[in-house]
Amino acid sequence: MTTIDLNMVGAKGALVEAAEGKWGMVIDQDLCTGCQACVTACAMENNIAFVGEEDAGYGRSMHWIRIERFWEGHYPHVKMTHYQPMLCQQCGKAPCEPVCPAFATVHSQSEQVNVQVYNRCVGTRYCGNNCPYQVRSFNWFDYNDERINKAIATLKHQFNPDVTVRRRGIMEKCSFCIQRIHKAQDKAKSEGREVADGEFTTACAQACPADAIVFGRVDNPESLVSQLMAEGHGVQHLSELGTLPRVTYLVGGQ
């Protein structure tokens, strides 16, 4: 396994794919049953607001991960395509980044993921417009403020103290559970070792009862993610745009 000096990673600059420190995800669409466990697990882990029926109808729901599905054909020869969990692809060259006037969405040097800096965000929504995967969600209201959403007064007891609660006017998206990455790295560092493959995982992958989501280091050829990616039937969505997505979809079967 490659040794990683966290201080060195990222010296190559944000827009270049660094070889080291790469976290990635593989989603096996053949295993996905569309059960939505990842969706609610993500919401519980990341303090994602619910917006209510009306706002959800206007497309304002805040899902960081959603399960897409498409129909093919007509009855009786109708088929549903494989369920397709869609989340931030953590692009190596992210279309959302260069359009942000506030540098609120940038590449982190140490984890090589696309991060959203909430206290820089001024809510222009340019990033959301430019995201080809439509995975960014915007806080149209203070959904998580108990003065506006009274139910939050008790529900907030569940909030994860490792994750910021976002306010109105802020764009947000999947962070690859960066709080979990940090926790695992801190623990490994204090024990004088590297983070082992499978030592921790993202909330979605942890919940997934079908094991369709696998998270890990793509720069470590021994890791399960790397092995799954090497199987050869993986695709990266809209890769023709040159986004260098960090999520690989396995579309085997059928």
Binding site: D30, G34, C35, Q36, A41, R66, V78, A207, A210
Partner: protein, 715 residues
């Protein structure tokens, strides 16, 4: 404000840390709770910024999945699956994840309440001493034969306590029921197993060891029996053996979430599942050669295909795959069981397995049980309701079930309840039944409770899943077991248990000497500590393929009411029977339609065109028993003569997120039962009436229907 966020009591119980166990093994029940201490002085096993984890059991359905709850400074932050629990092996479903929004729900019943059958939660608060005295007065006042207990599907420690209590009093045993058990057709599954294999057990379909699976209506990836366990199995099926991906075919009239991941989804006429299973058996037996099993001998394949509306070629293709397979498996479930011929259909599928499958087993019995004790069937509930109506029951205790919502209206529960002098609800939430009660004595939420629960299927082990509090009670609730024990003592039914914890230990005692369990302990206190640390106790069970009597199996025609359309009600895959009060479950999109926060009616686009209705048009669905109104969703994968409605919404109470939202398709059910006593709800037929109203559904998939843009262009 400081008061509000101040850290609450910690429970001195084993978390997941191994070190704690050694400390705790010597502790008796007296050391259960740590005394409340100032904020500055942390309990010794808690550190700022560090989480404490507690293993417990998910109570969102009766599957008994193990959970590990992450807590921080006295708050429950996140639940994860318990990797040690054989049912879910570290995984959870969407409903399990949101159990925290039940715990911290703003609409919980916050104190014992003299409800007085008011329409809303306006009853006056009481204190717990008066509450216990009230229960004890009832136990003293009425004869044993006038007292009844109605409880939820899951067989837990409270059910055992109520069983012991009613036994000591000479009252009739507590009745267990839940809407899910009705939709799952548990009585039908057990009855068919009794008739074919001589044991009333639940089946265990071992998907993990199979390579070709044919399902007849079973929604095993959604809510059916043990969905997380079955999803794990499904995943193994797809990953395959020797890199050969397993195949999966689904026969059903409306594409369920489970059917949507099938390699082939074949629409058949509702009620013909058994006939198709027998036809398939005949084709497979012919392809494999050898003697023809008696069950399949008399079926005419061509006739069966025609009756079912299935293409003969499709049947041949599937039979060929099934015959070629090393480990074929047939599953039955969902609406297929809920026909008048449900038992025969189940037997036909069991016969298919008995003849060809090595992946079909009867579920191992739960620890300490000699036979599977199923929850009450709808027919037994109907008899129970009649008993209430007759006035023979003077006091009714209700826990863990919401019959005013979960029982079809046609059984008349609400009216019958008027003839019961005193109704006591132990509901955590102000659900419909709680509001109809005289008193609400709220139990703790599952994450605040001690206990255990028997798991009935989903694992090749005999599982007793354990519960322990992850947090101290959030509102002024009291364990129902403690209320009953205290009241029983006051009323003069002496029990050898001081409190709930002592009762649980008393029941766990029998497992201490048993060898070969998941852990061993020399005495009960150590056993209890391990029980809490690992989240339960289980024992590997040898799965034995049942031997069937090689008898003939019939496939009689299903009986239907008069009407235009078949109705397929299905349990919402996201909400389940009791998820409507959790806002994040409401906002989780239904997997196949992506609708959130409401009820919809699925209609084939062709049919809708003929009826002259479009997406989001409100239609009235009328059956012999009742009517409901909901918005149309044009669903491409449903037979043109079928309409489908999800179950889970339509609450009139149950908190701000559930009340007044959507409709309950159970209002359309009549009171017809199949041979096993399960409700034959799939025999309901309905007609569709236009209302001229429009109600836009909130969907994740597009904005069409909300802004009204693009309507009429999509088909």
């Amino acid at each position: 404000m400081t008061q509000k966020i101040s850290r609450r009591d910690f429970l001195k119980l084993a978390g997941v840390g191994a070190a704690t166990t050694a400390v705790l093994t010597g502790c008796g029940p007296a050391a259960k709770f740590v005394t409340r201490q100032p904020y500055l002085k942390m309990p010794e096993y808690t550190y700022n910024g560090e989480s404490t984890y507690y293993a417990t059991t998910c109570r969102e359905c009766a599957a008994a999945c193990g959970l590990v709850v992450r807590t921080m400074q006295g708050r429950a932050i996140k639940v994860e699956g318990n990797k040690a629990n054989p049912v879910n092996l570290g995984k959870t479903c969407a409903r399990g994840q949101t159990t925290l929004q039940g715990l911290y729900n703003p609409d919980r019943v916050t104190a014992p309440t003299k409800q007085g059958r008011a329409k809303d939660l306006s009853g006056s608060a009481m204190n717990w001493d008066d509450a216990v005295a009230t229960v004890s007065d009832i136990l003293k006042k009425y004869k044993a034969s006038e007292i009844a207990f109605l409880m939820g599907t899951a067989p837990d420690h409270l059910f055992d306590l109520a069983t012991d209590l009613t036994g000591a009093m000479g009252a009739s045993a507590p009745v267990r029921y839940g809407a899910l058990s009705m939709f799952e057709g548990r009585a039908t599954l057990a009855q068919a197993a009794q008739e074919m294999f001589g044991q009333p057990a639940l089946p265990f379909f071992d998907l993990a060891s199979a390579d070709v699976v044919v399902s007849f209506g079973a929604n095993f990836l959604e809510t059916w029996v043990s969905p997380v366990a079955y999803t794990r199995g499904y995943s193994k099926l797809r990953k395959g053996h020797d890199r050969r991906r397993g195949l999966f075919f689904q026969f059903e009239a409306r594409m369920s979430q489970t059917g949507s991941v099938a390699d082939e989804w074949i629409a058949l006429r509702p009620g013909t599942e058994g006939l198709v299973a027998l036809a398939l058996g005949k084709l497979v037996a012919e392809a494999r050669g050898g003697s023809m099993p008696k069950a399949f001998a008399s079926v005419n394949v061509n006739e069966a295909a025609e009756k079912a509306g299935v293409e003969l070629e499709a049947l041949h293709v599937i039979a060929e795959e099934f015959a070629k397979a090393n480990a074929p498996l047939a599953i039955v479930g969902g609406p297929a069981l809920a026909h008048s011929n449900g038992v025969e259909t189940t037997k036909a599928v069991y016969a298919l397995n008995a003849a060809f499958s090595s992946s079909f087993f009867l579920s191992p019995l739960a620890p300490g049980e000699d036979v599977y004790h199923r929850p009450a069937s709808a027919q037994e509930m109907s008899e129970f309701v009649k008993k209430l109506e007759s006035g023979a029951v003077k006091a009714l205790f209700i826990h863990g079930v919401n019959p005013a919502f979960e029982l079809p209206k046609s059984l008349g529960f609400e009216a019958a309840l008027k003839n019961v002098e005193t109704v006591i609800s132990f509901a955590t939430f102000p659900d419909e039944t709680a509001l109809l009660s005289d008193y609400i004595f709220p139990d703790h939420h599952a994450l605040e409770s001690f206990g255990y629960q028997r798991a009935y299927t989903g694992a090749n082990a005999s599982v007793l899943s354990g519960l322990q509090p992850a947090v101290t009670p959030f509102v002024d609730t009291k364990a129902t077991a403690d209320v009953l024990l205290a009241a029983a003592a006051q009323a003069g039914f002496p029990f050898p248990y001081a409190d709930e914890f002592a009762f649980i230990q008393g029941k766990l005692q029998q497992f201490v000497p048993i060898a070969g369990g998941s852990f061993a302990a020399p005495e009960i206190n150590a056993f209890t500590a391990f029980f809490q640390q690992f989240g339960g106790w289980w024992k590997q069970a040898d799965l034995v393929a049942p031997t069937a009597s090689n008898g003939a199996v019939n496939a009689p025609e299903a009986e239907f009411e008069e009407g235009e359309f078949f109705l397929i009600p299905f349990v919402s895959p996201t909400l389940g029977e009791a998820g409507a009060n959790k806002p994040w479950l409401q906002e989780t999109a239904d997997p196949t339609t992506t609708v959130m926060w409401n009820t919809w009616v699925e209609i084939n686009p062709e049919t809708a065109h003929e009826l002259g209705v479009e997406n989001d048009d409100v239609v009235k669905i009328v059956s012999a028993a009742g009517e409901v109104e909901a918005s149309v969703y044009l669903y491409p994968a449903i037979r043109p003569d079928v309409i489908a409605i999800p179950f889970g919404q339509g609450h009139t109470a149950y908190g701000q997120f559930a009340a007044g939202r959507g409709v309950n398709p159970a209002d359309l059910f009549g009171a017809k039962f199949n041979a096993a006593g399960d409700l034959a709800y799939a025999g309901v037929k309905v007609r569709v009436e236009k209302t001229g109203k429009k109600q836009y559904l909130s969907r994740l998939e597009s904005k069409i229907g909300v802004y009204g843009e693009g309507l009429g262009e999509e088909h």
